[in-house]
Amino acid sequence: MITLTGARIRTMAALLVAVIGVAARAEDRVRLRLGTAVAKEAQPKPPRTPRPPELRGTIAQATADAITIETPANVIKKEWVVPTEDVLEVFLDGEPEELRSGRGMVAAGDGAGALEQLAPTESADRATAWERATDAVQAERMFVKSAAHAQRAIRSGEGLEPALAGLRAFLKTHPRSHHTAFVHELMGDVFARMGKPDDALAAYDAIATQSPARRIRADMLKGRLHLDQKRFKDARVAFDKAIAIESPAGDFSAFLEKREARLLLARCFARDSQAADAIALARQLLSEADPADSAGLATIFVVLGEAQQAAGDKNKDALISYLTVDTVHNGVPEAHAEALARLVKLWEKENHPERARDARQTLEQTYPDSPWVRLVRKPAGS
């Protein structure tokens, strides 16, 4: 359990500002996931352009399941207990800017980028500052580093064992961190990359707590693993199980997890020669989608594109879906990169080598490290 006193926080912040030049305000912030019950409570009148609301104050307690923040200046409540699945990000008072950027990159899946961000803070002249940082900030540093290493290892396939050791060390040192579920998920991903599906399944199992969102996610991840292994039947069972988990009507996080499970189920259909079912499911998700949720729409359209492509005679429909991701909902790097890569292939099929060339160029320039680049790279000399 992390218990911080206001005086200690202020002292540490002052030290950090003085020593490593951070410009953080003397308060913690918990950024809430839009659409969740807690976000609605914190922001009863949302602005015209919705932005995730923040709770500002002092984090009194953080566990693997919830964060308690004291908010003396808040007019609605003075203390909030936020389930970790409803949290988008936690900003700690006094943490350096590089750490925040690195954490953002980890959240976006870019471990290599996160390590680059952290690199300047690893110099000897910053060592003292780190030593003086709060336990919470040090825990964040450890989290970002271990998660980033793991993500880099997963992408490259190298250094998987040390990455695993790093994640284990984090869990051992900070067993009650609000990042626990995320770290377990990463461990599962590392195991999967190592070819140890049973260990991966066990790691994913560890995510399942009482929270419906967590339980749904655990099953969804298991299904995803089966899907990657082309064990479609098992994958479908896992996704069906995830979708069947009951959750309260207002549990938005659970809704999002279920949506992801349904999307993966649609992918499962597409890859298991059930393109019509895949299209129907993706279209249903589209009809339920919030017009303002561009990120959600990006993932739906990518899946819809894959389903249409799988149908064999709907290449033009697939092109439209991927173009939608490329031109309208292009804020999710993973979805955008996938859409671009698939556009390359489809444009070639549809006799538009110039457009294929443009899509390839955009993919290579925008996401040079994406695994999708390798799939569409032209052989040298062609």
């Binding site: 589209l286 009809s287 359209f301 006799n351």
Partner: protein
């Protein structure tokens, strides 16, 4: 204007964005946003897919569907810009107009209505421009195209301009109070939106109405005063333009008189010297009076303005609380006002465009320009301080200049070309552009009027004043940033020509001044030339005129592209001239035009190659332009017969740039080039041709190039006898491909040939049936399409393809006993072979072998259907077709044989269809022919008719067809012989027409031979011999090979018959003559003689004739042996018999020794059978040829 209107269009579409993206569901919103992005990315084809997909969705709301109609129109307009040719472009614009009209039918009254009407107006202007561009093409009907253009411009005006007369208050920026209730034009739509927004604003401002009314009243009070001041200003400007000219004239008459001045000239000068100062003074006085007059309203204006300022402050204070609420409506109001003015400016400019559709100085031309001028004038007067007003003033001045009102033009343009930047600040881009354009027009006017004073100052020349002239300084300032614009090049070049003209007008005394002017003119010319854009060539010429050479300049891609395009246009014009000369039949002019075409082509080729080299080096070069060069180059290379290079360029475009506008044309050039190479025997080119054709069909499966490529693939498959490839082509043919019926028929014709040859060569009947089914499907689909078109396709070859296919299908129908279908096909009004040949309406199909085949098939069909009148008509036509020349009889015989063969094929088909009732099914067919032939034989004694009757009966009787009973066959042969006999009888008749008598004489030998042959077949030896004797009695006919063969056949057959009848002596005599011939009376060579006669030719080569002779040789040798063997069999004396048998054996052995091949396997077998018979008769083992082998000598044992 082109660029400007496009920009205007884009602005309108861009402004629609927020309005567009307001669907209700995520799917609809996304679709509309996607369409917006696709428009930005210039992907109209994908927009059309999206629109199609979205429209088909059940979830699409009515409102979104309505918007999709408009967006479809926009997409089609965009797509039209990259259309391969004018027809395609026009088609797309037509579709676009329909889509926009569909949207407008929903009576929209929002922003989309404004955009839609504007889009439609732009579209119609584009159509008009296209017509004008077409009118300039070599060989175009310029008058018709210009007329069409004028119609389009009128429609555009009608779409843009409101029909209601705007009674708006002059000088007011408010919308007119009367707004048309029904929105029918872009202006209506804007006015309606303006009225709505004004109402909304009024509602918001209701609490401050009092103070606002007061403020507006001040505005209204100021308006007439402002107009009064403006009127004074305009008059002052007008007067001021006259001053410099008068000053210049005054200076000219004040110079010292020259000795060359005439007395009259001097008198006029004196008179002017008296008048001009007075006129000048009067004008200056007038200007002063006007300036004084202006003061009064100006003072009043200032007073009201100061009151207005106070009110304005009060108003602002009162409006402050409403600011937030008013913000958006006011912004919107401003936007709509700008849109209204843009629309009106567009109307004015459309009138200007319309003037181009009429001959310069014609009434219509003047009317259009004057209307454009009037509208621009109104805008310039009303909105003189706005950007629109400035642009309208420029347009007005341009129109005045074009109408020859140069003074007025200068007056209108003066405020623009005298625009100056505020101190320390550069002129705004719009200001600079307007100034430059206005000055360019003004300079042209001054040059025309020789009014040099505005730029060069009055005479005598004062260098200091000259140098400080602001217009000259503007023209002389070097371009600092970016590339010189065309407008600036115009200003510099026109200034240079003006300076040069002024210098030239100077007398010898003013040589120094002339030098200064010429130096500046040269400087400007060099600057314009170095940019190598507009007026570069003229600038070089001007410099040359000044006695200076500017030398070469560095080329860049755009200039080289322009050079190449100009050279290509010259080539096109030369080609058009060549065509015209050829059409006029002028050989000398044609030769000259052909030389010119070659010269201009080579020049274009060189220019385009230079441009391409630069384009490929320059990474910033426009890819579309580079591809256009490649495409043109491919065409030029093809014309120059450099097929390999043309093919390489065209193929590159197909492979790497298929969506470039020029690539489709290049694809066709590449195809034609590879075809030329392949026709020359280039195997690699042939392979490349196949690959390219396949790629083209993959790339575009609907255009003319796909049709060309498919034709190539069909031809290649036909040449390769690849029936499966033809089936695949037929099955895979795109339903939308151009010329689909023709392609189907071509492939079907090829496949039918393969099916027929497969049937004859014993290919699997299942496969043959499958091929025939594919043929049938293709023809049955294609012919109705041809019929629906109402005429045969253009071009003789295409027409023949259709008629041949119809004929083929009729034959198939006859084979299937579907007589009604066969007749329907033959008699079809559009493509029916019988209809076309019997009416002679289409000369391309009414002659030649296609016509003959059509008539023979029709004849068979008519006879079968017992339509004897039509059959008779067909027969008569066949006779006509054979003509009357020397070869007529041979032709006719060939036709009759073909007819007989057709009949035989029909009987074969009946027989091959199998079944117990084959004979019964053939009976009506035979009965039909019998009735018809007997009828013809009776009623038509003419040679041709009787010959046909005889030939057909002979064919029916000689056939080995199982469906003709043996007895019936004999009867047919008898009837044939009777028909021939009737011809011989007719020959003996007196009083025959000379022509017929001659014809009969010509046929006599053939007829006798036929009778001999028929009599032989029927065992009527004497009758046959009678004809042979009659034939060979004439020594000239003794060398006729056919007669000799028939004679030998007759002797052999008669000998065999005598032997069977037990008449040994007769048999022996006939068989002896059959083998060895006879030398008395009519000489008969016998089989031995025939073999000797043909032996030389038989082994002289391996051509068809030699092979035919070789066949005959071995047949003859075989029949010699057979005759000998038969003779041996009738001998009763054993020794004689043995001798005769040995002779037969020796004959075969000798033949084999000399010609071991014996004419092939079949003949070898027959020889060996005879040999075995002889061996058996001789009491030897029947070892056949084995007995003739000589044992090999034993190998000697090796010596130790």
């Amino acid at each position: 204007m082109h660029t400007r209107s496009l920009l205007a269009l884009l602005l309108v579409v861009a402004s629609l964005h927020p309005a567009l993206v307001r669907g209700e569901t995520a799917s609809e919103m996304t679709t509309l946003a996607l369409l917006d992005r696709l428009q930005e990315r210039d992907m109209p084809d994908v927009m059309l897919w999206v629109i199609e997909q979205a429209s088909a969705s059940a979830e699409c709301s009515a409102d979104t569907r309505r918007r999709l109609d408009f967006l479809k129109g926009s997409a089609l307009v965009s797509q039209s810009r990259t259309a391969a040719d004018t027809d395609a472009r026009t088609g797309l614009l037509d579709q676009a107009e329909k889509s926009i009209d569909a949207f407008l039918e929903s009576s929209p009254a929002d922003d989309m209505a404004i955009a839609a009407f504007t889009q439609k107006g732009n579209l119609l202007v584009e159509r008009g421009r296209t017509c004008l561009a077409l009118s300039l093409r070599p060989g175009a009907d310029a008058a018709a195209q210009s007329k069409d253009a004028a119609v389009f411009f009128d429609r555009a005006i009608k779409t843009l301009r409101t029909a209601a007369i705007p009674p708006g208050k002059k000088g007011s920026e408010e919308p007119p109070p009367v707004v048309p209730e029904k929105i029918e034009t872009a202006e209506d739509a804007v006015l309606r939106s303006l009225r709505d927004i004004a109402t909304e604003i009024e509602q918001i401002r209701l609490p401050i109405k009092g103070i606002r009314d007061e403020y507006e009243a001040k505005n209204a009070e100021m308006a007439p005063l402002q107009r009064e001041v403006e009127k004074f200003d305009a008059e002052i400007r007008q007067k001021q333009t006259e001053v410099p000219r008068l000053q210049q004239q005054l200076a000219a008459i004040q110079r010292a008189p020259s000795p060359r001045d005439t007395p009259q000239g001097l008198q006029e000068r004196r008179a002017l010297a008296g008048q001009l100062p007075i006129r000048l003074q009067a004008i200056l006085g007038e200007i002063a009076r006007l300036e004084a007059g202006r003061q009064k309203p100006e003072i009043q204006l200032k007073k009201i303005a100061s009151e207005k300022i106070k009110l304005s402050k009060q108003l602002a204070a009162a409006e402050k609380p409403l600011e937030k609420e008013l913000d958006e409506p006011l912004r919107r109001q401003e936007e709509l006002r700008a849109k209204l003015l843009q629309t009106r400016l567009m109307v004015a400019e459309t009138f200007f465009e319309k003037s181009k559709a009429h001959a310069p100085n014609s009434d219509e031309w003047k009317a259009a320009l004057e209307e454009s001028q009037r509208l621009n004038h109104e805008l310039a007067e009303k909105y003189g301080t706005l950007g629109v007003g400035f642009v309208a003033r420029l347009n007005e001045g341009r129109n005045q200049a074009l109408l020859g009102k140069r003074d007025a033009a200068i007056g209108t343009l003066a405020p623009l070309f005298t625009l100056e930047a505020a101190p320390g600040q550069p002129l705004s881009p719009l200001g600079l552009s307007l100034k430059t354009k206005a000055l360019g027009i003004a300079l042209e006017c001054w040059e025309e009027d020789k009014a040099y004073v505005e730029v060069t100052g009055p005479s005598p020349f004062e260098p200091e004043k000259y140098r400080t002239n602001p217009l000259l300084r503007f023209a002389m300032s070097p371009v600092k940033e970016g590339r010189m614009t065309p407008e600036m090049a115009t200003v510099k070049y026109r200034t240079a020509t003006l300076l040069a003209a002024r210098a030239k007008s100077h007398s010898a005394q003013e040589a120094t001044a002339a030098k200064v002017l010429e130096a500046d003119a040269y400087k400007l010319a060099r600057e314009v030339s170095s940019v190598n854009r507009d007026f570069a060539r003229e600038a070089r010429e001007l410099a040359a005129g000044l006695g200076k050479n500017l030398g070469p300049v560095d080329d860049d891609f755009p200039s080289k592209l322009a050079d190449g395009q100009a050279a290509f246009r010259a080539f096109q014009e030369a080609q058009a001239a060549l065509k015209a000369a050829q059409a006029a039949g002028n050989a000398a002019a044609s030769d000259e035009a052909a030389d010119r075409a070659v010269k201009t082509r080579d020049e274009a080729l060189e220019a385009m190659q230079d441009a391409l080299a630069l384009g490929e080096q320059d990474a910033t070069a426009n890819e579309a332009a580079t591809n256009q060069i490649r495409s043109i180059l491919a065409f030029l290379l093809y014309d120059a017969r450099k097929f390999a290079e043309a093919a390489a360029l065209g193929s590159l475009l197909v492979k790497d740039h298929p969506n470039s506008a020029s690539s489709r044309q290049a694809a066709r050039v590449a195809l034609a080039s590879l075809q030329s190479l392949a026709a020359g025997g280039d195997a690699e080119a042939r392979a490349r041709l196949q690959d390219l054709a396949a790629l083209i069909v993959t790339r575009w499966n609907d255009g003319p190039e796909a049709a060309d490529a498919t034709t190539v693939l069909i031809n290649l498959a036909i040449e390769a006898h690849d029936a499966d490839a033809l089936v695949a082509l037929l099955n895979g043919l795109n339903p939308q491909i151009q010329r689909r019926p023709e392609l189907l028929l071509r492939a079907a014709a090829g496949l039918r040939q393969e099916a027929e040859s497969g049937r004859k060569s014993g290919t699997d009947t299942g496969r043959v049936a499958e091929w025939n089914a594919a043929v049938q499907r293709a023809i049955d689909e294609a012919l109705p399409a041809v019929e629906a078109a109402g005429a045969l396709p253009a071009g003789a070859a295409n027409a023949k393809v259709v008629v041949s296919a119809a004929l083929m299908r009729a034959q198939m129908a006859l084979a299937d006993a579907d007589q009604p279908l066969a007749l329907a096909l033959l008699e079809n009004k559009v493509y029916g072979p019988w209809t076309l040949v019997s009416s002679g309406s289409d000369p391309t199909v009414a002659q030649g072998s296609l016509a003959t085949t059509s008539l023979t098939v029709a004849l068979n069909a008519f006879v079968e259907a017992q339509k004897f009148d039509d059959a008779q008509k067909a027969m008569n036509l066949l006779e006509q077709m054979a003509g009357t020349g020397d070869e007529a009889s041979a032709k006719l015989t060939a036709m009759y044989q073909s007819l007989g063969k057709g009949l035989q094929d029909r009987l074969d088909q009946v027989a091959s269809a199998g079944g117990d009732d084959a004979t019964a099914r053939a009976a009506p067919l035979l009965a039909g022919f019998e009735s018809f032939l007997d009828g013809v034989a009776k009623r038509d004694p003419k040679t041709a008719a009787q010959l046909w009757v005889a030939t057909t009966y002979q064919t029916l009787g000689s056939g080995t067809n199982s469906v003709v009973p043996r007895g019936k066959a004999g009867q047919y042969l008898d009837r044939a012989a009777m028909a021939y006999g009737r011809l011989l009888d007719r020959m003996g008749q007196e009083g025959l027409a000379e022509a017929e008598a001659t014809e009969l004489r010509r046929f006599e030998p053939t007829v006798r031979l036929k009778i001999a042959s028929l009599s032989r077949e029927r065992g009527k030896w004497d009758a046959a011999q009678e004809q042979i004797d009659a034939l060979l009695a004439d020594p000239k006919r003794q060398n006729w090979l056919d007669a000799q063969i028939e004679a030998a056949e007759l002797l052999l057959a008669a000998g065999r018959a005598a032997k069977s009848a037990g008449d040994a002596a007769s048999a022996d005599a006939k068989l002896r003559e059959a083998a060895a011939g006879r030398t008395t009376g009519g000489v008969i060579w016998g089989w031995g003689g025939i073999a000797n006669k043909v032996s030389r030719q038989a082994f002289a080569g391996s051509d068809a004739k030699a092979m035919q002779a070789r066949d005959l040789f071995f047949q003859a040798r075989l029949k010699v042996a057979e005759s000998l063997l038969l003779r041996a069999e009738v001998k009763t004396d054993a020794a004689e018999k043995a001798k005769a048998l040995q002779t037969a054996e020796t004959s075969i052995a000798m033949t084999r020794k000399l010609y071991p091949d014996l004419g092939g396997a079949v003949m070898q077998q027959r020889f060996e059978n005879l040999l075995k018979a002889a061996q058996t008769a001789l009491g030897k083992p029947a070892d056949g040829f084995a007995a003739l082998e000589t044992p090999a000598p034993a190998t000697p044992a090796p010596t130790p």
